[in-house]
């Protein structure tokens, strides 16, 4: 029990120590060489800006977080559904998949202005961009996972005369879960990128808007403050999916522990 706790402490302590060394070097370097704050503000200056108006920052963060989660959610639902259709019906695979790959190779950022024309300046175009950037990872990983069932397992299902729906629900979807979660982690970080891009193009709110307006007034500490929040948000969201993965795949988690 104590060794488990100590292990957990060490797992958290080491990355924290790394971050601390990084921040200290930054602070000392900036002071030592007297770098102007407009170029590179010291961490203390960034922290001051954050502490000065925490509620305002929280509001902007909540807006960006909302866009990200909405885009991610739609990408997950649509991505999993699309992957199932494509894997289950070969005709749809040949009909739609090349088109999907072609659409994906268009730089999504280039579509942002188009979305403004279509959806106006509210949350919708930003969610659409977040969705578009994130969905590819979900589709590719889910499709891969659905096809990863062992041939013996498929043979077993055939000898048991199971319906296609049963095979999908009892076997293929479970095989897909570990791959799906890997895809969701990538999709989450990409959805955050999409949200910021959307806010860059047109927004009155959100962290993307904060970065853009602060840059306009050469308020570099504020730009950094927003970037710091984005970094923390990214790490937290990925960690959240990690927790969900462990809860959803108890057999897989136990397996990893066994291997250690």
């Amino acid at each position: 029990m104590i060794s488990v706790l100590a292990g957990a402490m060490r797992r958290i302590a080491m990355p924290l120590l790394g971050a601390l060394i990084f921040l200290a070097t930054w602070e000392v370097g900036v002071r030592l060489f007297q770098v102007r704050p407009i170029l590179l503000p010291a961490p203390s200056l960034i922290a001051e800006d954050l502490i000065a108006s925490p509620l305002w920052f929280a509001e902007q963060t909540a807006y960006t977080l909302g866009i990200t989660l909405a885009g991610f959610g739609v990408a997950t639902v649509f991505g999993v559904a699309f992957a199932i259709l494509v894997v289950e019906w070969k005709i749809l695979d040949r009909l739609l998949f090349p088109l999907f790959v072609a659409l994906n190779s268009v730089p999504k950022v280039a579509l942002a202005p188009l979305f403004l024309i279509w959806f106006g300046t509210g949350a919708t175009p930003k969610i659409a961009i977040a969705f578009l950037i994130a969905v590819f990872a979900v589709v590719i990983d889910t499709a891969l996972g659905l096809q990863s069932a062992h041939p013996d397992t498929i043979d077993l299902a055939r000898t048991l005369r199971g319906s296609r729906l049963k095979v999908l629900l009892r076997i293929k979807l479970y095989c897909a879960l570990p791959h799906l979660f890997a895809g969701l982690k990538v999709a989450m970080s990409l959805a955050l990128v999409g949200a910021i891009v959307g806010e860059f193009v047109s927004s009155q709110r959100g962290l993307g808007h904060v970065i853009l307006t602060a840059q306009g007034t050469f308020d570099t500490p504020r730009v950094f403050a927003a970037i710091v929040i984005l970094a923390v948000l990214g790490v937290a969201l990925i960690a959240l999916i990690g927790v969900m993965e462990r809860l959803a795949l108890p057999w897989h988690h136990a397996n990893a522990r066994h291997a250690n």
């Binding site: 397992t153 077993l156 000898t159 048991l160 005369r161 108890p250 057999w251």
Partner: protein, 253 residues
Amino acid sequence: MIEASDVIKRYGGVDGVTALQGISLDIAEGEFISLVGPSGCGKSTFLRCLAGLEVPTSGRLLLDGASIKGPPERLGMAFQRDALLEWFDVLENVLLPADFGGYGKKKYEARARELLRMVGLDAFTSAYPQALSGGMRQRVAICRSLLLEPRLLLMDEPFGALDALTRDQINVDLRRMWSRHRMTVVFVTHSITEAVFLSSRVVVFTPRPGRIAEDIAIDLPADRKLAMRESAEFGAYTSRIRGLFEQMGLIHD
């Protein structure tokens, strides 16, 4: 129950591989038949044809007088790899045939528990497969294949990956289950001893392309104990089969 006449199976086109070269074999209801032969002799292919997982290239393969098209009803199958579903616990795995067949899991739960009790796994009903040893996993797989009281049980080298001790025990378990239920079993194995111990008939295959070298009825007492393997009669059967392998140039002394 099963009639095979001149069953041929080829893979690939003109210069493909011939896996089975004219297999003719009749299997009566309630027999325990072992197919032995070298690796790649097509015995597993024949089993897969019986299971309806493969279609013979030519020849007739009948089950109860009708040609086999797809997996038949009341079929149990055990695989080399146990093919347990890692995401379901032991009980759910054993109940899988009831679930897939649409017979209702509730109705079969008592039977599943009874089967698990017979192989000494009643304490593990809610464990995940990866917590079990190889022998325990294979026992779960056998319980699964027996759940629906199959008329025909097909086993494809199910015990190949087990250690010798576990294998002996599981052989005894399987033999006992067969004496009780008397389903028809077709059992593919590499082990001559295992084949003679379990079977009422042993069919020896030649190397690829697979043909039947000999069909040997095993006339040993029905109540088989492991110690019986040291008896002279038992030894006579095993050395006869080993002799066939020597004639085919598969083993050298």
